[in-house]
Amino acid sequence: MFQRLPDIRGDALSFTIDGKAAQARAGETVASALLLAGVETCRTTPVSGAPRAPYCLMGVCFECLVTIDGRGNQQGCLVTVQDGMRVETQIGRGKRELGR
């Protein structure tokens, strides 16, 4: 788990993770917001279906790929979370696919 330090302040905002309501602070990235909401595994690999979590948080590893507002395979660590944003994990082979 990850937690904000107790004296951290910031504007709260709401977004959804796989349709469920979640909270974040303004300025956080989608990947950070997922980790802080307790969602660690953000996708499974297309090769073996193994679970993956954000790894580098700096745009290099592409492990934090998620679907954001309907657009698939976005690097969660490079997108700032917005109020009302719809984030979907990419768990389950073939989930993020054709027609999106």
Binding site: P46, V47, G72, N73, L98, G99
Partner: protein
């Protein structure tokens, strides 16, 4: 100085195929490649194994080559990633369909029946994600695709196992013939001798041809390819289009490959090819128009390989017109991959038996001789 029966210059698919077929006939071959085998066009093309849409003079070779592709594992001990799910040229309009019918008639006239017309229903059954405006197409059902670099490497490795000496990372600086023997000088100073030379040096082949007094107006070009992220399976045949240049396919792993001969910048002197994204824009538009599901697909890679193109778009295959003991195999003009197996085989026949039953006159280098129209 070391000798061999045949010296092959250039380790593209054609050079490796010639080496393999010669080795199968017990000929001692040395193949010299300036980079590594399959470095340029042979290793980085779209991998189309296609009879569909070929220039009429190429069809007999292409049809014969397809027989070899069908038993490629027997030939090379590797499946080369070859899969046969057909190739289709999509018709986007009634005009396109008329072109399809005319083409089929011409192919039938030449004595071949592998190209067939399909209507909208069959097109949709074969390529469910195709755009609604597409009305049918031309199909060659036995065609398919293979993995280019893997294929070249398979030919190389089998040739090597049969005793071919393969020298990679060293360029041939020049060849000269004296007393019926060719001597090739390598960049590292080594000299190799052989009574027969095969010039399969791709975009660099014109330099060797010019050196023996038969210049060829070869243009070095750099066809580009793009590859996307994985998508859910939606396409098994390889598709092109009647009125646009395209080669589009999906691999079993879900990634898609987009090509069609859009050109980047080739620099054969520096041995580099650069991608030109502006030229790829039209290629991307074609895919977007024909397969709207691809709109938000992410391109993860694009690349270009150096390839040689002749003015008439036909390759140069067969004996030199000026020097005995020299055979050419180059200038495949962006569509030589499928011909690789058969041309290697017919060169081996020419070298060992002095003849081939396949019609190779249209590919003679003599067509570029001074005074003859190109």
């Amino acid at each position: 100085m070391t000798g061999a029966d045949v010296l092959v210059i250039g380790g593209g698919l054609h050079g490796c195929s010639a080496a393999l077929h010669l080795a199968l006939k017990g000929v001692a071959v040395t193949l010299v490649e300036k980079d590594y085998v399959g470095r340029h066009a042979s290793g980085v093309n779209a991998g189309g194994v296609r009879r569909l849409g070929r220039a009429l003079p190429e069809i007999p070779l292409s049809v014969a080559s397809m027989e070899l592709w069908r038993r490629i594992e027997e030939l090379t001990d590797d499946d080369c990633g070859f899969e046969s799910h057909g190739q289709i040229k999509i018709a986007e309009s009634e005009e396109d369909l008329a072109k399809c019918r005319a083409r089929r008639a011409a192919v039938m006239e030449a004595g071949f029946a592998h190209e067939e017309i399909i209507g909208q229903d069959e097109l949709r059954a074969l390529a469910p994600a195709v755009s609604d405006h597409c009305v049918g197409g031309l199909i060659s059902r036995g065609d398919g695709a293979a993995l280019p670099f893997r294929t070249v490497q398979a030919f190389r490795n089998k040739a090597a196992r049969l005793g071919t000496r393969i020298i990679e990372g060293v360029a041939v600086r020049g060849v000269a013939r004296s007393g019926g023997i060719w001597t090739a000088t390598l960049a590292d100073g080594r000299r190799l001798q052989a009574p027969v030379v095969v010039n399969s040096a791709g975009a660099w082949a014109d330099r060797f041809a010019a050196a023996v007094g038969e210049p060829v107006p070869l243009e070095a070009v750099a066809p580009m390819l793009m590859i996307t992220e994985r998508r859910a399976p939606f396409l098994t045949p390889v598709v092109g289009a009647m009125s646009r240049t395209l080669s589009f396919k999906q691999f079993p792993n879900g990634t898609t490959l987009i090509g069609g001969g859009y050109l980047g910048r080739a620099d054969p002197d520096r041995n580099v090819a650069a991608v030109d994204v502006r030229a790829l824009a039209e290629n991307a538009r074609t895919v977007r128009d024909l397969f709207p599901v691809m709109r938000d697909a992410q391109i993860v890679r694009a690349w270009a390989g150096i390839e040689a193109r002749t003015p008439d778009g036909l390759p140069v295959i067969g004996p030199s017109a000026t020097e005995p003991g020299l055979l050419h195999s180059f200038g495949y003009s962006l569509h030589g991959f499928q011909l690789g197996p058969i041309v290697g085989s017919l060169l081996a026949e020419l070298i060992v038996h002095g003849r081939t039953n396949l019609p190779i006159e249209p590919f003679s280098i003599a067509r570029f001789a001074a005074g003859r129209p190109a």
